[in-house]
Symmetry: C2
Subunit: 337 residues, 2 copies
Amino acid sequence: MSEPRKLEVLRAIVEDYVHSREPVGSKALVERHHLGVSSATIRNDMALLEEEGLIAAPHTSAGRIPTDKGYRLFVDRISEVKPLSAAERRAIHSLLEGPDDVEDILERTVRLLSQLTNQVAVVQYPHLSRARVRHIEFVLLAPRQILVVLIADSGKVEQGVVHAATDAADEELMALRTRFLGSIAGSQLDLMPQVLPSVVALCPPALRTLAGALALGLERLAERSRDERMVMAGTANLARSNVDFPLSIGPVLEALEEQVVMLRLLSDMAEDPRGVTVSIGRENPYDGLSEASVVATGYGPGSSAKIGILGPTRMDYPNTMAAVRAVARYLSRILGG
Amino acid sequence: MSEPRKLEVLRAIVEDYVHSREPVGSKALVERHHLGVSSATIRNDMALLEEEGLIAAPHTSAGRIPTDKGYRLFVDRISEVKPLSAAERRAIHSLLEGPDDVEDILERTVRLLSQLTNQVAVVQYPHLSRARVRHIEFVLLAPRQILVVLIADSGKVEQGVVHAATDAADEELMALRTRFLGSIAGSQLDLMPQVLPSVVALCPPALRTLAGALALGLERLAERSRDERMVMAGTANLARSNVDFPLSIGPVLEALEEQVVMLRLLSDMAEDPRGVTVSIGRENPYDGLSEASVVATGYGPGSSAKIGILGPTRMDYPNTMAAVRAVARYLSRILGG
DNA sequence: TGTTAGCACTTGGGCATGTTGAGTGCTAAT
DNA sequence: ATTAGCACTCAACATGCCCAAGTGCTAACA
């Protein structure tokens, strides 16, 4: 019996099932795909595929559906990433227009991706650990309340409020700002904890406690900047495409809300040489996502930050992978420039 | 027949239905509530309530469920807002701890509210139209790319990128910053469009195009600041509490994603003298929310910004209203201070 | 050895029918 | 105004039946 045909059968099963949402049987298979053999032969092949754990039958006399393992094989060896349609390319291109504020871009990107794929789209903020300090600002909100703003050369702005033990004056803040800026401008956010204390130490004693508080605030901001965040869009697609939910959406919504979970999930996805990484069903480390798949890839400098989508295991992998990859490329291009 | 008892019956129906999720019949009613009469009497009362459109029977021989109108009457005239439990008070109090960055606070508040009510919680950013300019900053990201930062005295920071037609130098930006700041520091964000052009006009001709671009950027930021945003949490509760969904969550998720819809919804809710406003089922202007209720109230200066929750019409109004009110009060206190 | 036709077998889904129990509305008595 | 009682309705559940889809197997075939 022929190995290539067996794969062809698996492909046909996956494609039909993704399309129809119903278990697919041998007969329907020969009708819809011009495999040159009869349904009996296909049955034999299917029996083998089932032995290997690539497909399964929900009950005795129904068709077969792909297992996680089946999808995996499909993704790894069978499917080809399809090129995008012209309309899709156009949609992505129009992303180039408009203001190129990082937040704005990410927000629009993720919305676009969710529309292209009809899934929930997620994007991680670019890593900033290697970013450098471009500017800092201290603003007096109230006598003892100081807004600290940290601007990185990546264009990211972080802000936070610091409480002073004693009243602070505007001039003091100005002086400290100049002092701090002189020492840390251009240095990596990573290194703030090492650099800042020495700056504080060099301050005149009268200002030292205030300087200490501000330094702490700056450190916190630098850390927060390193610490990851994400934006998502398209949660409504969960309900839409799963009307007869093979994917019970409760746990998935939970996962999405626990941003920590999603961020780890994305970060942990190994980079795939083919450009897009796929994690299928129970391969996912998080229980709530045992019926979901994640398709993600890196973008930006070093592909360190991730962008991707989340959907039911039964999804159109080729198109989805193509969309994710294309969007990530455009995103890299925009942010890189 | 007695009017007060009729209301009592309505209250009992609402309470039982909210609790059990099942149509409630006359017999069950007399068993669980010590109304001093028999089930037959209750039946008569129920017939009247039905005539008035306050309750309805899903089919001939089932119990009754409250209609939107029934809930409305319940909320307006029958229910009393219950005091919060000690545990709830404690939870709210612990909100006071931690950094008091506006974003942080709102995020934690909304999460808390969603946990207290088991619903989706939504909070609008405080209105900033009356806020004043505290500080501005121009940062050169690339020769023709300038990051514009606008800091309001409310502590809100807005940022955006401006493209210059020609290369800009750091010194030019510094000069312009001083010039702009001198003219607009302390003036209302609202008034930026009136004030900025005159500043540009006073610039030396060499800088004028650059100044124009920057002014445009600032205006955009001021506008964005005025233009409303929201944070939400607890979407997973939609799936959880509606396992046997009386509330089909698809349209609701859509509404939540269309932030514009939610923002209008919140803004349009008239302030209720009792402190919390409730919009029930079809009372909602948005179709997708015809099976949902919104409980909201204002917070902060002038109660101009809104906070609230969104859930199925069948919800525990007294407790929910209490939670929303309490959280809004604490939020006002924190942000006010 | 791989392919095919044919056939017996399994089983979920649809349908028609019967039964039950919760709940109602009405009437007559209190 | 309230109540007891009763006939009536109807969703929910159960039962039994049949059908179609789909399988696995065997025997014949190239």
